[in-house]
Symmetry: C2
Subunit: 178 residues, 2 copies
DNA sequence: TATTTACGTCAACTATATTGACATAAATCT
DNA sequence: AGATTTATGTCAATATAGTTGACGTAAATA
């Protein structure tokens, strides 16, 4: 037994707290895994009906949300090679879900846009995933609602945050003034 | 222009609110994508040094956290086929990071355990990911801290939650009474 | 004894990524 | 104007992580 107030008791309490916070962090690691698994599962089912996969979804999503996106910007967001992107993008172009127009200021660039059909699929997919978030917000106590986006933003690499913030601002602008 | 207080103004406000909440949800979708990307990136670099990938990480993690896990239970957590698991698991067994003992009550079962070396790698990987969470908790205002795990838990399919809760409880027990 | 269960394995295939090398057209520098 | 850089496309080979389907085996159970 350790006397309360003693140095040993104090060290014990600190160790306990460390173990607890570590345990909590481990729990968060697993919750993040399960949450992401279910989160992407929603969209996967719908994508399957079109013969598309997650890679197509990501491209469609970001093109839809940021019309006029260039190949380079898309590569920067997705963090994949152009060869990998090209296969998926070509399928989306061929299937008529995305179209590319030559850049006006720089004609080497290909500005990407969703077609009407592509925008519809993107909207349906986004609706599925948004629905999950909206339901979560509904379930959560009000005080926890604002915390979600703060939390997710804090999970992003610090050196990446400005880029993500700029991306979100750009997507918002595209949405407000189409 | 719409007169304030008119039915048109009201409908306008509702549409605006809907658009805003949708926009927020869309933002969360993207933040979730970026957060998960960076979250798994941490571990990827360390795994590469051992010639392992994410698949190995997941197996190692869950076996380490729930010693004596059976193949069936692991398949249920990971949601992959036994063929897919087997290739990865065999590599972990061969490399001496995981070991399998015959079940005591049912000798058909293979109970999975990490070896000392496996436990060490699992701990190092978990430390990387825990560190991100701990840093996030430090950055976040106190009121938002508890919200993170609530939020992630709410993101899980409702019919899956009991299973996840049981899994976490089991992992916690294994940790407290080893 | 017959059947079911837990697991292993062979084979073929798909999706998504990689590296490396080379091609082309448009923009930009000198 | 000519040289160089940039944005993008493309061919080929390879790796990782998953799938379906078929078949095998040992242990538990009806």
């Amino acid at each position: 037994m350790v006397e309360p107030g003693s140095a040993a008791a104090w060290r014990n309490a600190v160790a306990q707290a460390a173990a607890t916070s570590d345990e909590n962090a481990l729990e968060l690691v697993e919750l993040f895994f399960f949450a992401y698994r279910d989160f992407v599962g929603d969209a996967d089912r719908l994508l399957g009906k079109y013969g598309f996969g997650r890679a197509h979804h990501r491209v469609l999503h970001f093109v839809n949300r940021r019309p006029g996106l260039t190949i380079a910007a898309l590569l920067d967001i997705l963090r994949i090679t152009k060869q990998s992107l090209n296969r998926v993008l070509k399928q989306l172009l061929d299937a008529g879900f995305v179209e590319a127009r030559a850049g006006v200021v720089d004609r080497r660039q290909r500005l990407l846009y969703t077609t009407a059909e592509g925008a519809r699929l993107a909207r349906d997919l986004a609706a599925l995933q948004s629905a999950r978030f909206l339901k979560v917000m509904d379930e959560l106590p009000p005080v926890a609602r604002g915390a979600a986006s703060e939390f997710l933003f804090a999970m992003i690499d610090p050196e990446e945050r400005e880029r993500v913030r700029a991306h979100l601002a750009c997507a918002k602008m595209a949405r407000e003034a189409p």
